[in-house]
């Protein structure tokens, strides 16, 4: 399989590009922020994502979805990133769908995701820096379980219809095994959600599970064997975040290069200065490499390669690093106006920071690779 989009994927990209640029450009995000929106995204937009078929990209045809793959999901996410569109797409249609795929819950939740009625949130993080540890406790209680503990950095957690919770049913926090994934419905008794506005204007939630009772049906997959669906969720989330980062970085780079061709100082276009040309060319190189790494990870996930995990870490880390360079160079090259709220580029910088932390930053993934390689 060559490492570029095939014709169908390129068509989907064109469709997503036009649709998202028209319905959810940066000014859509700005308007939500200025209105002090408390949902974090537009439900109408989510509905229209469903009408376009986007929410069913990763859902199999037998479940009424399109049965496509991570490459296609990535195509949509890149446009979300490029337009800074607030959307539950990554958490719901990518990460949650992958976790639920092939489990008994698929039949329950996929119809709502396909129709754009269901929004999912991922209750994975327990600390400020992502770690592969799960301390939130799930204890047997009657026929079901009782969940006790805290989660944070949960996008859409305060409005989500479905919360996927990583909980500990055996062992201790850092153990690989003994994790169980639960599907918790909105409004569960004992669950409090405190929404926090993030630097990028998105809303994430601190969740407090105070003996939240769930039935045995809420288990995703098998008890104590939640590592499988959790890994699926993380792999999908990480590659998806890498794609969204490519959009953020690519959008920043395009705006910046365009500005270098318009802005004059000392009577000449600033893009004629070699000091800026070389930095722009270096940025281009980093972004291209990140793009290749991301596409490879997606293709490996889609083909079920046993080397996908490593490729996913490489993609998430490299996309995070390249995009960090993009937003830093962008703000610097725009000069004073890059610092103004009126101008969009600052939004890109803020979004990059949030996505870089999501599901583990570059250092986390570099460390993970090093451990796996034996050093």
């Amino acid at each position: 399989m060559p490492l570029y989009l095939n014709d169908e994927q390129a068509m989907l990209r064109d469709t997503a590009k036009d649709f998202i640029a028209e319905h959810a450009p940066v000014k859509h995000m700005r308007a939500l922020r200025d209105a002090n929106d408390q949902t974090g995204f537009s439900r109408d937009l989510w509905k229209s994502f469903a009408e376009m078929g986007f929410t069913g990209i990763l859902i199999g045809e037998d479940n009424g979805g399109l049965g496509l793959g991570h490459v296609e999901a990535g195509v949509v996410l890149e446009e979300i990133g490029r337009n800074l569109s607030p959307s539950p797409f990554l958490a719901t249609a990518v990460a949650a769908v992958e976790a639920l795929k092939g489990t008994a819950q698929a039949g329950k939740y996929f119809p709502g995701i396909l129709s754009g009625d269901t929004v999912a949130a991922l209750a994975i993080d327990e600390q400020a820096k992502f770690r592969d540890s799960v301390a939130l406790k799930a204890e047997r209680s009657g026929n079901g379980f009782k969940l006790t503990g805290k989660k944070q950095f949960v996008a859409h957690g305060h409005v989500a219809d479905l919360i996927i919770v990583a909980a500990r049913t055996a062992g201790s926090a850092d153990d690989e095994d003994g994790v169980t994934l639960f599907a918790v419905d909105k409004g569960a008794a004992g669950l409090t959600a405190e929404a926090e506005r993030m630097a990028d204007s998105s809303l994430t939630t601190r969740l407090d599970f105070d003996g939240v009772e769930v039935t045995a049906d809420a288990v995703i997959g098998e008890v104590d064997a939640g590592r499988d669906p959790l890994d699926r969720l993380l792999r999908a989330g990480r590659t998806g975040a890498a794609s969204e980062l490519l959009g953020v970085g690519g959008g920043t780079m395009d705006m910046t290069v365009e500005y270098l061709k318009q802005r004059k100082q000392f009577g000449v276009l600033i893009g004629s200065f070699q000091a800026l040309q070389h930095r722009a060319a270096h940025l281009y190189s980093e972004m291209e490499v990140a793009r290749a790494a991301t596409l490879r990870a997606q293709q490996m996930l889609d083909s079920g390669s046993d080397r996908a995990d490593e490729a996913v870490s490489v993609a998430k880390a490299q996309a995070g690093l390249a995009t960090m360079l993009a937003v830093q160079e962008g703000v610097q090259m725009f000069g004073g106006i890059g610092m103004t709220d009126e101008f969009d580029i600052g939004f890109y910088m803020k979004r990059q920071r949030v996505l870089a932390e999501m599901f583990g930053d570059a250092n986390f993934h570099a460390d993970k690779l090093a451990r796996n390689a034996g050093y």
Partner: protein, 384 residues
């Protein structure tokens, strides 16, 4: 099974049966690379066998047409062959400037006679080529070259000097840029081929900071070059030169991938690195693996006709800077062991010598700064 699956199974079986175990060992030094040429006395029996077996199938140049000694493989088949070779960590049977540089240029610009004469010998490793490009006064400003080729009817009389000619002292033939018109710059350059055994050709190795002499000064004193050895038209050599440079940059970018078989940097890290160095190596490995994906993508884009013509500049820039970083980290990880210059234990200082050699990566084939200029102008279309 699909045709490609059959091809993969057949290829896997053939490689297993024919790739000697020695040729699956990591490349330790320059000496492990096989360059081919008239003098093959330096080759080990395994190197010779591997080169000959692969050459006989045309798999030293898998995607060249069969009639010129290639394997005639499709892009998808070539990719499978690369993957299967990587799977068993097979070394390249033959690395040569003929394969990576001259061949592609001849395929595009050569006459039928030139192709049939030169390409099969390149594919089988019979003739080793060197590149006559840089001159003392023409480095980054390559088109300022002065080596002259005077029209003498049925031959050119070539006079001048080249420098940084890699392995000129071991090469059999040279592809060379010469000036056929002094009144114009790029449009006065021609591309010619000649035998290094021709009268009037002499070479002088240059001792480098590594203690080795991979580069030479090359002198031409009234060298007669038959006119049929002109590639493309007279005064249009710059087109050939640029096209070939793209391929040279692709080849050099391969440095970014590191040596085939094993990862000495990871091995060094395992022996013990402090936490900060460990982190630096881990972050380096992210970039190296991402670049590995980029290299695959670049080949796919080229074969699919989707690569920007200036993309080799990006590959060359990134790959060489990466390789320099790799060797800096290897030196840091090796500590004082990595400083030994002559001991047997250090394989005669292969580590530090390789480290110093990489410093040329971002100079040869166009400096990093030249590549960044090309990306700025041709890809980003920034103003002059």
């Amino acid at each position: 099974m699909s045709d490609l699956e059959t091809f993969r199974a057949d290829t896997r079986a053939w490689l297993e049966a024919n790739c000697p175990p020695e040729m699956r060992e990591p490349v330790r030094s320059d000496k492990d690379a096989v360059w081919g040429g008239r003098d093959q006395s330096m080759l080990s029996p395994a190197q010779k066998a591997w080169m000959d077996k692969m050459g006989a199938r045309g798999w030293t140049v898998p995607d060249w047409p069969k009639e010129y000694g290639g394997g005639g493989l499709s892009p998808a088949e070539s990719k499978i062959l690369r993957e299967e070779m990587q799977r068993i960590r097979a070394r390249n049977p033959l690395n040569s400037f003929g394969i990576s540089m001259l061949g592609p240029a001849l395929l595009k610009y050569g006459t039928e006679v030139q192709k049939r004469e030169h390409l099969p010998k390149i594919a089988r490793g019979e003739i080793r080529w060197c590149q006559g490009y840089s001159e003392p006064g023409a480095g980054s400003d390559l088109a300022g070259l002065q080596t002259s080729a005077e029209d003498k009817g049925d031959y050119y009389l070539v006079n001048g000097q080249k420098v940084w000619t890699s392995y000129a002292d071991q090469a059999d033939w040279i592809f060379c840029l010469v000036r056929t018109d002094k009144s114009v710059k790029q449009a006065g350059i021609s591309f010619v081929l000649f035998d290094m055994a021709s009268e009037g050709v002499s070479t002088k190795p240059i001792l480098l900071i590594s203690g080795y002499s991979p580069f030479c000064e090359t002198f031409f004193d009234n060298v007669k070059v038959p006119k049929q050895n002109l590639v493309h038209e007279e005064n249009k050599g710059w087109d050939v030169a640029k096209y070939l440079l793209g391929h040279e940059r692709e080849m050099i970018s391969g440095m970014g991938l590191g040596a085939a078989g094993g990862n000495p940097l990871v091995e060094a890290a395992k022996k013990g690195a402090d936490t900060i160095l460990r982190g630096q190596i881990a972050l380096f490995e992210i970039r190296a693996k991402a670049f590995n994906a980029m290299s695959e993508k670049f080949i796919d884009d080229l074969k699919g006709g989707k690569a920007h013509p200036a993309q080799p500049s990006m590959m060359k820039y990134y790959g060489t800077e990466l390789n320099k970083s790799r060797h800096e980290l290897m030196m840091a990880a090796g500590g004082s062991d990595a400083l030994e210059w002559e001991s047997e234990r250090s394989n005669k200082g292969s580590g530090p010598r390789a480290w110093l050699r990489t410093k040329a990566n971002s100079i040869e084939g166009g400096t990093s700064e030249v590549q960044l200029n090309i990306i700025s102008k041709r890809i980003l279309e920034l103003p002059s």
